[in-house]
Amino acid sequence: MRDVIEGIVLALFSLIAIWGAWQVPGASPGDTWAGIVPFAASVALLVLSSLLIVGGLRMADHGSAEIKNGSPGTLDILILFAIALLYQQSFRWFGYLLPTAIVAPAVFYLFGVRNWIGLAASIVLCPLIFYLIFFQLLGVFPPYGEVFDLMDWIRS
């Protein structure tokens, strides 16, 4: 049944990709259509997704033993993914330092660190070390926080 679900998700994705390729304007005379490769790849993806669905249905008909793939770590991964999404978005709002200071102990905790001194140290050390390496040593221009930027505040 897992193959069927995967196949359906991929088929839906391929239909969106076909529609997206179809939106590409036609070629000017003497040129080739810019949508030809995306369109061909999307159609091929639809065909393979259909094969995946058919294969999954066949296996289900034959009553093949399905291995349950539930994992105890899935919830933690979803939490980490949510942290990752918030972390990247908060770069735009609060720059680099403040989000890193908040995210660092959260991620350490998620990975099993329970030493409170260590977690507290990560609030200062992680942003500081990464800031020094990437934004000072390598000279990368740090992201500017539109709402509040801790670096601006420290400088002022």
């Binding site: 810019a34 770069f91 390598l138």
Partner: protein
């Protein structure tokens, strides 16, 4: 003969030598750390190399790749956990030796064999690259597209358990690569009105996401699963040293492994894991003591280790001569070339010949560097790695991924791409899709599209041009034949499994 002046140039440049030694250490540490791969390290360090000269950046990452392949054997022998997929074959005989108190001996055999295999691969690359480049110069767009097509099909269908999922992974890579402006007509594709998407999906954030963040997700999941206790290996006083008489029976296995690895390395997508297992099987078949293999035979380490490392050099041949990376490390290196404005492909031999040979020279010196460090310091390094708890290591890698993805172009959108790619990469691994095929296809897609459309223009829109030109037709046939061969192999395996179940 161009290699000798290149070697001289590299040897006389202390900063380059320092970079090679540093890369050898980094690669070894990364390869020896279970869960970390050389691909992940290279992807993470890629933005740092923007600030280096092309040869410095390429040499640094290339040697990390080489050393990382070797480093996998340390974890396989000492912790019974292969640091890389390729070192799983080394584990078969390596861990029993470690349990018998001969870990030092096993690691020395792994080091010497890796050096032999890797040097053989590099020598063959230096000799063969010129010939491949000359042939590549004569290929037109239809032939080049046919090679791309064969690479897509081989990479999609040969690696992994499912051909369909492998090909789907390759197609997903192509579709993602199409996002942005069409390089020929400047028409927007899959941008959905977003300005950020019109610049396309960056290679660096995609790589960091798939290889680094995806691995962090996987490690978090693995922590929740049952954990094996790492037992301290006993220490035999004679188990550390290795005499020439002890290594003598390993020499033919190492040399054979070197040839097997070099042969497989030229073919895109097959990779070092396949080479290692073929060499192990072939070595056992020809061994004088096959009953000892699997229980702690030194030859059982020499054969896969030589093959595993011999893949490294020759896998650069299709990348440099045709612009077709044969491995994920090759795909990342292609990114480095592009970032530094160097066009990889048939003309590279004409435009940047010196750089190419200097890179080969750096690779050879890198082999010697990791060989010396590994021979004298692998055990100490392994003990050091064990002291770093994964609960500290992976959060640091998590945060490095974000700042590295941002640093590539100073774009927060790239960080968003990295997060999405990380989650998708984890999902692909979890549901047995082929991450390597996805990434390599992403890298190849633009070149394949360009040659495909050039071919259509040459033939006024007719697809017969790919059949009428014999070299193009031959490569299309190779791609289809490889897929057919793989289908046959899978059906055969299924029949054996069914037969075994029937007998039960």
């Amino acid at each position: 003969m161009e290699i000798f002046p290149a070697l001289l140039t590299v040897i006389t440049d202390p900063t380059l030598i320092l970079a090679i030694i540093l890369a050898a250490i980094v690669g070894m540490v990364v390869g020896a750390t279970p869960g970390l791969t050389a691909s992940a390290a290279i992807a993470m360090l890629l933005p740092v190399t923007f600030y280096m000269s092309p040869i410095f950046a390429l040499a640094f990452l290339y040697v990390i790749g080489k050393s990382g392949r070797y480093g996998g054997s340390v974890a396989a022998i000492l912790f019974n956990t292969p640091g890389t997929a390729a070192s799983a074959a080394t584990q078969i005989d390596g861990y029993p030796l470690a349990r018998a108190g001969k870990a030092g001996k096993a690691m020395k055999v792994a080091t010497i064999s890796s050096v032999i295999g890797d040097l053989m691969g590099d020598v063959m690359l230096v000799i063969g690259f010129g010939f491949i480049a000359v042939i590549a110069l004569k290929l037109g767009p239809p032939e080049t597209f046919a090679i791309y097509f064969a690479a897509f099909v081989v990479i999609g269908s040969v690696i992994g358990k499912s051909i369909i999922k492998g090909l789907i992974s390759a197609l997903l890579g192509i579709i993602v690569a199409m996002v942005g402006l069409d390089p020929i007509s400047s028409e927007e594709r899959y941008t959905f009105g977003s300005f950020d998407l019109s610049n396309g999906i960056g290679l660096v954030p995609l790589m960091i996401g798939v290889f680094v963040l995806g691995e962090v997700f996987a490690q978090l999941e693995a922590r929740k699963k049952a954990k094996g206790e790492i037992k301290e290996n006993p220490n035999d006083p004679n188990g550390y040293s290795l005499s020439f008489d002890e290594y003598r029976p390993c020499i033919p296995h190492a040399i054979r492994g070197g040839f097997i690895g070099a042969g497989i390395g030229v073919l895109p997508g097959l990779g070092s894991a396949i080479a290692a297992f073929i060499s192990y099987g072939e070595g056992k078949r020809r061994a004088k003591n096959p009953e000892q293999w699997g229980k702690g035979a030194l030859e059982g380490i020499a054969a896969p280790e030589a093959a595993n490392n011999a893949v490294s050099g020759p896998s650069m041949a299709p990348l440099l001569a045709l612009g077709i990376p044969g491995s994920t490390i090759g795909a990342i290196l292609l990114g480095v070339f592009l970032i530094h404005g160097i066009q990889v492909g048939p003309t590279l031999f004409l435009t940047d010949k010196e750089l190419v040979y200097q890179l080969f020279a750096c690779g050879m010196l890198g082999i010697i560097a990791y060989g010396l460090i590994g021979y004298f310091g692998a055990s100490q390094m392994a003990r050091l790695i064990l002291r770093v708890p994964s609960s500290v290591l992976y959060p640091l890698i998590f945060m490095t991924a974000f700042v590295a993805a941002y640093s590539a172009r100073g774009s927060v959108f790239d960080v968003t791409v990295m997060v999405a790619a990380g989650f998708v990469g984890w999902l692909m691994r979890k549901y047995d899709f082929n991450v390597a095929a996805f990434v390599i296809s992403f890298v190849l897609a633009k070149g394949a599209e360009e040659t495909f459309r050039q071919s259509l223009l040459m033939s006024d829109g007719g697809a017969m041009i790919f059949i009428e030109r014999p070299i193009a037709a031959a490569f299309l046939f190779i791609g289809i034949a490889a897929m057919g061969f793989r289908i046959r192999q899978i059906m055969k395996e299924q029949r054996i499994v069914k037969g075994a179940l029937g007998d039960a």
